[in-house]
């Protein structure tokens, strides 16, 4: 047994950044498909994209940006010893995540109510380009939604660590890494929003 616990903050953050690379490349596969199919079906993509509700998408963009702000501030709060404030801010982030998923639920429900979902009979009757658009839309936002849920779970777990004193003002790399992950979730949405909701003419 070694006498001292090995601590390497730079190493821990380095590892996290490498992991974020892998997440970017995971979504990269979907963005490649988007680019190829956009080049093949430009008109159909515009027609289909204009059927998405910009208010839902825009609202969720604001929600995620706010949540990222909360996370960033929560790290500073913890470093300055304001544990209670840090926990409240993280709670705000998790609430934002819940709001995001609620929005998504209503948005998807409406679309599914119109018979637009992968494998539906209605979707198959649309022109092929529009079918592709909606399929890739569901896959990309679905995978992103999964990441929102995972990110929220990670933040809740971090909150528990802060409460039990495992993460504190002098040892906060876990919170910073959790925050980095949350920013990635935000960042990917920043690309998804214009690609799917703002594609006009």
């Amino acid at each position: 047994m070694s006498g001292h616990e090995h601590q390497d903050y730079t190493g821990a953050k380095f590892g996290m950044w490498l992991f974020l690379f892998t997440e970017v490349l995971l979504f990269g596969g979907l963005f490649i498909l988007y680019a190829v199919y956009l080049a093949r079906y430009p008109k159909e993509f515009v027609t289909a994209g204009s059927q998405l509700n910009v208010w839902f998408g825009g609202g969720n963009t604001l929600v995620l940006l706010t949540s990222s702000l909360f996370v960033a501030v929560s790290i500073t709060a913890l470093r300055r010893g304001a544990t209670g404030l840090c926990l409240r801010l993280l709670g705000g982030t998790v609430a934002c995540a819940a709001l995001f998923m609620l929005n998504k639920f209503f948005e998807w429900s409406a679309k599914i109510g119109h018979g637009i979902y992968p494998g539906s009979a209605h979707l198959r009757e649309l022109p092929p380009g529009e079918t592709v658009f909606f399929n890739i839309y569901y896959l990309t936002t679905g995978l992103h939604g999964l990441h929102v849920v995972i990110g929220a779970i990670v933040l809740i777990w971090t909150m528990a660590l802060i409460k039990t004193g495992r993460v504190h003002a002098n040892d906060w790399v876990i919170l910073e890494n959790a925050g980095l992950y949350w920013h990635l979730v935000d960042l990917i949405w920043i690309f998804i929003f214009p690609l799917y909701y703002l594609i006009l003419h």
Binding site: G15, T22, G28, G29, P118, L139
Partner: protein, 540 residues
């Protein structure tokens, strides 16, 4: 009591467990224990894969049905491919020997994230368990080949969905290993272990780890999309819904071509480490070998579509990818020439590790050159999807990485078990393996040139002679493998005690006792010379 202590100290990390019995292994975060867990899991899957390969060859003894029907044959060659690719050759050298050796080579006590390292092994075992489960559940074993090409893979009623989940999990395991190694090599090098003093094996792992990090996620999304296509009908690769099957091939090979460098670069690293030791000469062109590793990792990421010349790409794309493919041959050749120059005028000791390393050079060169036949679009059109391709990639993967894996076993196992195998038997086994290998795969290349297509259960009678020759070769190869593994296992269990530095290596692992203690170095080492400076290391 004191005798027990002394005996335990001689057994190093093998005797020091924090938990009793098997739990001391499967929950250990010691990189050496994890390395051995990987090693024996990987060897087990290799043996299963090899057995399936023997069955394939037996079925091809004669045209028509020999021992199995066509559907079983499809499942068997799919399983052979999936096991050999995802469970043997990709994790193979990095996860087993990278874990065992790399932290010691850089003078560290462990990897940067030991618990993550244990999680990688658990994910590997979980993925393997799912892959095995997919054989016996659902609509029967997958029959798509390891490449899972759509549209067949999206429609077949066999259990492809579960197999894609298994591949996703195995990919995640591979990513975590890569991430861990890059961080370890950046952060945990001992004092004086500068980048130009890193052993070439560690350098090759570094280049490999970057490919694992950057390419594997694309495989993840590809198999996830195939899963979605099968389960919820997303149709992104289905022309009826506006999708394009060729996009699956692109995404698949964006990972799977760089993956062949995940497979072969660590093997090159093993050979680069072994040759200077057995030639008693510093590695010729150390920096050129390092740069060529990085160049292969980089250029290898840009050549994926050379698997798709006949898939209906544009002619321009074919020409661009053909040119890029030829560029990869340059750094590969740089390595071969450097190895030969290292051997030149060396004082060569023809021990088993070197024999396997030498066969790597010969077989990989043949495999690489036949790769150029396939990289050139004009010739590829004729030999695409024939046994020539099967011969080619077995030369590079088995003749390359497989031989390097065996070389690594003969080179490093005495270090980690403190026991030496029987060198004479090892040499004989090498000879039998090499002979069987050449008979088996050269026959495949020739029969491929004659036009025999791959993946077929049946063939025209004209090909019978060469197929029987190949099958006979597979038996010789099988006997050689049994001989080698039995000898190694016997050596590990009952062999004579091995000294700390049986081969006269100058890298750090040889300065520790065999087997090394749990935290490797009692005091963090200070490195004062290069990895192949045998004079300063006091070996010459």
């Amino acid at each position: 009591m004191t005798v027990d202590h002394a005996a335990a100290a001689e057994r190093g990390f093998l005797a020091e467990a924090r938990r009793p019995g098997p739990f001391g292994w499967i929950f250990s975060t010691d990189h050496k224990r994890i390395g051995l867990l990987y090693l024996w899991s990987i060897v087990t899957f290799f043996c299963v894969g090899a057995l399936l390969g023997l069955l394939i060859r037996l079925e091809l003894w004669a045209p028509g049905r020999t021992i199995m029907d066509a559907q079983t044959y499809n499942a068997v060659f799919t399983l052979h491919g999936v096991i050999m690719i995802f469970l043997f050759i990709i994790p193979g050298i990095p996860a087993a020997f990278g874990n065992l050796v790399m932290p010691i080579q850089i003078g560290a006590r462990d990897v940067a994230f030991p618990r993550l390292n244990l999680l990688s092994w658990w994910l590997y075992i979980g993925g393997a368990a799912l892959a095995v489960t997919s054989l016996f559940t659902g609509g029967g074993p997958p029959d798509t080949g390891w490449t899972f090409y759509v549209p067949f893979s999206a429609r077949t009623t066999t259990n492809v969905s579960l197999a894609t989940v298994a591949v996703f999990i195995l990919g995640f395991s591979s990513i975590l290993t890569g991430l861990n190694f890059v961080t370890t090599i950046h952060r945990l090098r001992a004092e004086g272990m500068t980048w130009t003093r890193l052993p070439l094996f560690t350098w090759s792992l570094y280049a490999t780890a970057w490919i694992q990090i950057l390419a594997t996620p694309v495989l993840g999304i590809t198999v996830a999309l195939l899963f979605a296509e099968r389960v919820i009908g997303t149709g992104l690769f289905d022309p009826a819904q506006g999708g394009d099957p060729i996009m699956f091939q692109h995404l698949f090979w964006i990972y799977s071509h760089p993956a062949v460098y995940i497979m072969v670069l660590p093997g090159m690293g093993v050979v680069s480490d072994i040759i200077p030791v057995f030639a008693r000469k510093p590695a010729f062109g150390y920096k050129a070998i390092v740069v060529s590793s990085l160049a292969i990792a980089f250029a290898g990421s840009l050549v994926w579509a050379h698997h798709m010349y006949t898939s209906g790409m544009s002619d321009l794309a074919v020409m661009v990818f053909s040119l890029l493919t030829f560029i990869v041959a340059i750094p590969s050749a740089v390595k071969v020439f450097n190895w030969l120059a290292t051997l030149y005028q060396g004082s060569i000791l023809l021990d088993p590790p070197l024999l396997f390393a030498l066969s790597f050079i010969l077989l990989f060169t043949i495999g690489g050159l036949t790769g150029l036949v396939l990289g050139a679009a004009a010739t590829d059109v004729h030999v695409h999807d024939t046994y020539f391709v099967v011969g080619h990639f077995h030369f590079t993967m088995f003749g390359g990485t497989g031989m390097a894996f065996f070389a690594a076993m003969h080179y490093w196992l005495p270090k980690f078990y403190g026991r030496m195998y029987d060198k004479t038997v090892a040499t004989v086994a090498w000879g039998v393996i090499f002979t069987g290998f050449c008979i088996l795969y050269l026959s495949m290349k020739i029969v491929g040139m004659m036009g025999m297509p791959r993946r077929y259960w049946d063939y025209v009678p004209e090909f019978t002679g060469l197929n029987q020759l190949a099958t006979a070769g597979s038996w010789i190869l099988g006997i050689g493998l049994v001989l080698m593994f039995v000898n190694l296992v016997r050596g590990v269990l009952y062999g004579k005690p091995a000294p700390a530095n049986p081969w006269g290596g100058a890298t750090l692992e040889w300065q520790l006792p065999s087997p090394p203690p749990t935290e490797n170095f009692a005091h963090d080492p200070v490195v004062t010379h290069g990895p192949y400076d045998f004079r300063k290391a006091g070996i010459l």
